[in-house]
């Protein structure tokens, strides 16, 4: 019987392996024609006589997570951008630390990659140095240029939303939320504002400034000091308007319960998350709404994904969406810019697209925002629908030196910097 079980287990494993092999074959299938700019079906091929001959290239993509938003991004690169520009992408699994990113870079280099998009932000100096050592052009998603390595020849630059620009968008959204003539008590989920995250810090500062100007608050400490708090803090506002800073990240079990206990005081009716954290709190918020019979409004940074769509389309106890407004990171549009930078660098135009030759350059792709489900649904199509992608292959051509030899920093910077959801929807 024992031996029989063993043989059965071996058979099961063999079946599993065959399944895996079958999955592997599936992945090798050519992408769905409906969302593919395959050479045989796109205008690129129809205009082949005027088209330059594209050399094959290979670009690696290092993901920090593999959420549904990342999968959308992966599909966009693999099925839309890749076939149009004769580029193969090598995608990582979820890379949670610098050591894993470095290992992925090494393997990507060994498999023939010439450039890499890096989304994890830990230990970037070593990651960039490793990419440079291997001769891989690198573009990161960090909010700041890594100063210690900014002159390395293969460090092209960063594509980010820009800490101050994101903070400005938050200001606009929060202003609209708190300027309804009523007083609102606000919890600011400040993430890494006190731990070196410039985006979280700038966002927290801007929210505190909006609240100060709207309610004439008189903070007892400087706003910068309050924003940098690394432990939960009820801010002395000199008024009956309450402001609570809740820093940190949801790594431990006590994170959600900590916020939940603040909400359960029943005093707060607005939660503003400086990072993508609202889904962690949704149950706690719902419980408090039911217990106190009051609507709690939620604003959060997010991305175009199933969680955000579900939050907008799920109504709370008061018939309102679970989330009131989002500031989203347009990942596909962002990866389009990263691709443009890497492709140009690989084609020999790295200094042509930099602001200062020999120095890594910051490129800005502002975040998009939406109030309510209708606005969000319209906006999400720009980042996940083949028909309405913010940047289709035809539009990307003008930013690639193989098609447009005069392309430079200004051309690329301006195109993405002015790429707001509203302008794209009007288009």
């Amino acid at each position: 019987m024992k031996k029989f079980s063993k043989i059965l287990a071996i058979l099961l494993i063999a079946v599993l392996m065959l399944n895996l092999a079958a999955c592997g074959k599936k992945n090798e299938k050519t992408p769905d024609a409906s969302n593919t700019a395959s050479p045989s079906s796109t205008p690129v091929q129809n205009e082949v006589e005027q088209e330059p001959t594209l050399k094959p290239h290979k670009i690696a993509v290092a993901f920090a997570s593999l959420s549904s938003a990342d999968i959308m991004q992966k599909n966009y690169l693999e099925n839309v951008v890749g076939p149009a520009f004769n580029t193969e992408f090598v995608f990582s699994e979820e890379l949670s630390n610098a050591e894993e990113v470095i290992s992925f870079l090494e393997t990507a280099y060994a498999s023939g990659c010439e450039g890499v998009m890096v989304f994890p932000t830990d230990g970037l100096d070593q990651v960039i140095a490793k990419a440079d050592e291997l001769g891989l052009y690198v573009v990161t998603n960090s909010a700041d240029i890594v100063q210690s390595v900014k002159n390395l020849p293969h460090y092209v630059g960063n594509v980010s939303s820009g800490a101050k620009i994101t903070a400005g968008i938050f200001s606009e959204v929060v202003m609209k939320l708190v300027s309804d003539g009523e007083k609102h008590n606000v919890i600011i989920v400040s993430g890494g504002a006190g731990m070196g995250s410039s985006q979280h810090y700038e966002t927290t500062v801007s929210i505190l400034q909006v609240l100060q100007s709207t309610y004439n608050l008189n903070y007892s400490s400087p706003i910068e000091e309050i924003a940098r708090s690394t432990s939960p803090l009820e801010v002395d506002t000199g008024s009956d308007v309450k402001v609570y800073i809740y820093p940190g990240f949801p790594y431990g079990d006590s994170y959600v319960s900590g916020l939940s206990s603040v909400l359960q005081t029943g005093e707060y009716d607005t939660v503003i998350c400086c990072f993508n954290a609202f889904s962690q709190f949704s149950v706690a918020i719902d419980e408090v709404e039911k217990a106190f019979g009051k609507n709690i409004r939620v604003v959060s940074l997010s991305s175009v994904d199933d969680t955000t769509a579900s939050a907008f389309n799920t109504l709370d106890a008061f018939g309102n969406p679970s989330i009131d407004a989002v500031i989203v990171k347009p990942l596909c549009a962002m990866s389009a810019e990263m691709f443009v930078l890497l492709y140009n660098a690989i084609e020999g135009g790295v200094d042509q697209i930099r602001q200062t030759p020999g120095e890594a350059t910051m490129f800005i792709m502002p975040m998009w925002y939406a109030y309510g489900a209708d606005e969000y649904n319209a906006l999400s199509n720009l980042d996940n629908s083949p028909e309405t992608y913010a940047f289709k292959p035809e539009e990307l051509k003008q930013f690639l030196i193989v098609y447009n030899p005069s392309v430079n920093y200004e051309t690329i910077y301006t195109a993405w910097y002015t790429c707001t959801a509203q302008s794209l929807m009007n288009r």
């Binding site: 071996i10 895996l20 992945n27 995608f91 630390n97 498999s111 830990d122 070593q126």
Partner: protein
């Protein structure tokens, strides 16, 4: 019907006797590594065997090989420590904090060694004093140490100066550290009384106790030696990534177990254990990752392949050789 069953049973016995063969057992992991290397070299038109790629594989192997070489002493004693990753992560965190306070690399290395040995001693003491199996102690320790690390880091990351890490990387000190530790472990494991005693304990705890070899004492020694590996591994982690975060070496524990089993270490420990199994196993894992990705296999499929391989090897090595009664 009976004949068929008897034939199957005969085949199984024959396969088992081949597997139990001393030389086949020793050479199989090396042969697997060599075959994989040849397959990947052919499949990638020689790109796999370039000097640069071999260095990449070695770089990827060092941390796991160092920690797993130390852990092989614990495995040889017939125990499984599943807190190796958590111990290394916390040791690296403490060493990083020490560096921030002192700005001295020597103090950082000394603190990593001290703390690695200290953590392993605590694990061993908890197991021997309270007579709890090592695996259960280390499950608790794994959770505890991860939480202590989270409290120390408070969600922040510790970044080392770029110039320092680059200088350490250029100095090839990682290879020197691993080489020295590997030789040390090899000599202790195969050519001293310590190694023999630990393997004897792994072969048969009851028998070893009755012949005057105290399992508790030698388990403690095994933990102390692996503690040095943890300390050195923590230093290598710092050199490799230059930063410590809440997720640093998150998969090290699984990688160590996979390396040890893949390298041919019997999961019950004992006389057939070998200290170099960890190095061969760690190299095989790196070769597999590197080669499959070079061949264009999806990263997510790779995870599945690693898991399956582990399952198959555990299954293959789960038949304990016929021995005198030990833990019954």
């Amino acid at each position: 019907m009976e004949k068929a069953i008897s034939a199957r049973s005969g085949l199984f016995t024959k396969l088992m006797s081949i597997k139990e063969n001393r030389w086949i057992e020793r050479l199989l992991p090396v042969a697997i590594l060599a075959v994989l290397a040849v397959i990947f070299t052919v499949a990638t038109n020689g790109r796999f065997a370039t000097q640069k790629n071999i260095k990449i594989i070695m770089d990827q192997t060092l941390i796991v090989a160092t920690v797993a070489t130390g852990a092989s002493f614990i495995y040889a004693s017939g125990n499984v420590n599943i807190a190796m990753g958590a111990c290394t992560a916390l040791t690296a965190t403490v060493a990083a904090k020490v560096y921030l306070a002192t700005e001295s690399v020597i103090t950082m290395v000394a603190s990593a060694l001290f703390f690695g040995v200290f953590l392993m001693t605590v694990c061993a003491l908890l197991s021997t004093i309270f007579n709890v199996r090592v695996m259960f102690v280390t499950i608790v320790m794994m959770v505890l140490l991860a939480n202590i690390k989270a409290v120390i880091l408070k969600g922040e990351s510790i970044a080392f100066p770029y110039e320092l890490i680059s200088a350490l990387q250029r100095s090839n000190i990682s290879y020197i550290i691993f080489g020295a530790y590997f030789v040390f472990c090899y000599i202790i494991f195969h050519h001293t009384k310590v190694g023999r005693a630990i393997r004897f304990v792994g072969s048969n705890e009851v028998c070893s106790e009755q012949t005057g070899i105290s399992p508790k004492k030698w388990l403690m020694v095994a933990f102390l030696i692996s503690g040095i590996g943890v300390g050195l591994g923590a230093f290598l982690v710092i050199i490799r990534s230059g930063t410590i975060t809440s997720s640093t070496v998150g998969s090290l524990n699984m990688d160590c177990m996979l390396a040890i089993v893949l390298g041919g270490m019997p999961i019950y420990g004992g006389s057939r254990s070998r200290s170099y199994a960890a190095l061969i196993g760690a190299m095989t894992v790196s070769v597999l990752n590197n080669g499959l990705l070079m061949m264009g296999v999806d990263a997510t499929v790779l995870q599945g392949v690693r898991g399956l391989l582990f399952l198959i090897l555990v299954l293959a090595g789960s038949e304990r050789p016929e021995l005198l009664p030990s833990r019954e």
